[in-house]
Symmetry: C2
Amino acid sequence: MLSLAAHSLCVRATGYQQSLHSIATVISGNKTSKIVRERLKKEVEKMASQFSGFRPGLVVLQVGIEAKHIRLPNTTTQDEVLHSIMSVNENACVHGLIVQLPLDSANCIDTEFVTNAVSSQKDVDGLSCINAGKLSRGDLNDCFIPCTPNACMELIRQTGVFVAGKHAVVIGRSKIVGAPMHDLLLWNHATVTTCHSKTPDLPEQVGRADILVVGAGRAEMVRGEWVKEGAVVIDCGINHVPDETRPSGKRVVGDVHYSSASQRAGYITPVPGGVGPMTVAMLMENTVQSAQRFLLKLRR
Amino acid sequence: MLSLAAHSLCVRATGYQQSLHSIATVISGNKTSKIVRERLKKEVEKMASQFSGFRPGLVVLQVGIEAKHIRLPNTTTQDEVLHSIMSVNENACVHGLIVQLPLDSANCIDTEFVTNAVSSQKDVDGLSCINAGKLSRGDLNDCFIPCTPNACMELIRQTGVFVAGKHAVVIGRSKIVGAPMHDLLLWNHATVTTCHSKTPDLPEQVGRADILVVGAGRAEMVRGEWVKEGAVVIDCGINHVPDETRPSGKRVVGDVHYSSASQRAGYITPVPGGVGPMTVAMLMENTVQSAQRFLLKLRR
């Protein structure tokens, strides 16, 4: 099994130097994801040379609107979706399967049921309850970690700030961001506080965070003045706000008010160009990891 | 499916009145567990009358030392344990199966693998990764909640203190206490901080807790002076310490220094007589719930 340490990116050598002036160092997802993609390319080449022509396989299954690979019509029934998933589960050439949510069908489809039909060995999105259970209970080497929190963790590691013993605050408790982010920080030995819509004293909670990860889905809700001096701030938000100065009439902002937060944070991710590109790289990472596990089993 | 609300105990009418003087109200596990057992007795009678002679079935599978039901010798192999589990999984008269840990065998047994072999529908201990995954991601109505945190939650509810919006602190992150306790408090809408052996500022973290649950396994480690005035303090610890004044030469204490903490807490559980007896009642609760789900499926 791949160890957690091995799973961590080999990007420390290119890590940032904290800036001496008071403005936060920007953690670039574009830069880091490029490093990951280059490393993965080499790993795939290595697999192909060791097992003639072998390639990691990924299937994206999507219902309705634009699809990448398996596109089911929006008249699809739950049984048809499950049948599709089963055939991918059984296909030895595929090492990863993600089901694009929401399932945009005219028929009633049980999202939980469909998500859990994906073989836990091919669940590179890490959303099945088997993988969630392992992550939440600390079995990190034996599961797939959801791509967004995995991306955040790599961006945090890249700053060189040690996570163990730090106070981390996560805003949000969604299945794809907040909840697994809590787990990852906890099992990397941070003291972790999870905040959400029912938290009455968010500014005070944020003010105690050495590491702050925000996945709240509300434009610029975290104000710079809440942020602890020198904190690592990771912003998972992607919000469209009106902007008349742009040809499109809108622009993308995160869940953190960037210009004020960057005055106080030690490190901060921009939106766009932060967590987003890293998330895509992490999906590739999980697929390559899945293919490696598959090959390890072949060798035994 | 049983709703979370229905799952909550009907003990509010007997709830405590907070004492006017400064010493904490004692939350009695003995008293509450008696109420639960009486309610369960009625529910079992109801099932037996509706489905002639039906009874919820529970199997405890234990390797080595004293056993209740299925006792496998300590020369048992992993395959034999798995075979035993499979036959219980398939037995329609059994609605709950718990595997007593640690598995005290001379042979090497993979505890994780064995725990996850128990059908998630009969896993009344709530320790399989499927049940852990559901709990950690907020699907509380569709899973079994481990007995100790379930017991703690009922004891908290009984005080009448609302959990939503409160700051809860959990000390410990074990699979059977701390980690699921975090999940339960979070999905009951508390802001939750998880502390553990790597937390450098435990007294400060504890001092911010409106609700404090301790599952650290260290005798009297939480000092009264750390506790926030009026907090609800739930102590999961069971530690044996030397006591020459006792015939046995020892006594049982919790993870909280009771006499000092009761001077500051609003409510506190004693050890013994707090979480312990409630945990046993919760195992019965889960078994009855499992039997009810089984009957619901029969009816469809």
